[in-house]
């Protein structure tokens, strides 16, 4: 009797355990990710009004500013707490890319600046650059050939 209730409880618990976080995590990712992007929009407006950036070029300083803020938050150890709460909400915006580079750099500082920081900086973010660059190469190559052949 006791065993059945125990296993029943386990079943019940595992049912809720696997189900609930997905919805909750998705909601958190959506809200936090949306807020990060809305904040990015605010930075974009700042650069458009006070500097000579157009709507097309404003993405660059916005990205750089978000990475700068990420550096501060990572350095003070606040970023980890936010990332734990938001999951993909802060990992998918460039803050996640920035954090991967910056945290690796800070973490390996004790091994020295050449062997530690320099060698490990892109340990986590390297795959993003690799797959981004290689897929962009293939896509741009195909498109350029198609354009030159007059297909598109």
């Amino acid at each position: 009797m006791l065993n059945t209730t125990k296993s029943d409880y386990k079943q019940l618990a595992s049912k809720y355990e696997t189900k609930r976080p997905i919805w909750e995590n998705c909601l958190r990712a959506f809200v936090v990710g949306g807020l990060v992007c809305a904040f990015g929009q605010l930075i974009s407006f700042f650069y458009m009004y006070f500097f000579d950036f157009t709507e097309e070029t404003v993405g660059d300083p916005t990205v750089a500013t978000i990475i700068f803020i990420t550096m501060i938050l990572t350095g003070f150890g606040v970023y980890d707490k936010i990332a734990q709460f938001s999951g993909a909400g802060t990992a998918v915006p460039v803050s996640g890319f920035g954090n991967a580079v910056i945290s690796a750099a800070i973490e390996h500082r004790s091994e020295g600046f050449v062997q530690g920081v320099g060698a490990n900086m892109f340990k986590l973010a390297g795959s993003v650059i690799l797959f981004g660059v290689f897929s962009a190469f293939v896509i741009a190559l195909i498109k350029t050939i198609l354009i030159q052949l007059g297909v598109i």
């Binding site: 998705c26 992007c37 660059d60 550096m71 993909a88 890319f97 920035g98 750099a105 797959f131 350029t144």
Partner: protein, 116 residues
Amino acid sequence: MVFLWAFLVGGTICLIGQIIMDVFKKTPGFTLSFLVVAGAILDGFGLYEPLVDFAGAGATVPITSFGNSLVHGALQEAERSGLIGVVTGMFEVTSSGISAAIIFAMIGALIFKPKG
């Protein structure tokens, strides 16, 4: 209004990332790489630029824009100097994200000490 679209579009891209991580049980590294490739493919079909016009930072802040601007730079340079431009123009547009990451990571390593 732009803020709302930035929020919704950016949130949706992050939601897709969370689904890849939670439902398909992939690592964050895989998720980011997947999204970068997705952004590159979308720009290959000319679909990412309209999204940027529409959602502003909602499309430029997520990592998908990295793939988009890589393809963009490559195609721009290819238009000017032919096939070789695909290789030489790749980082033309996207350089700010990578250079900012490198510069701030170095500054961060100089200022902060590792914790825990």
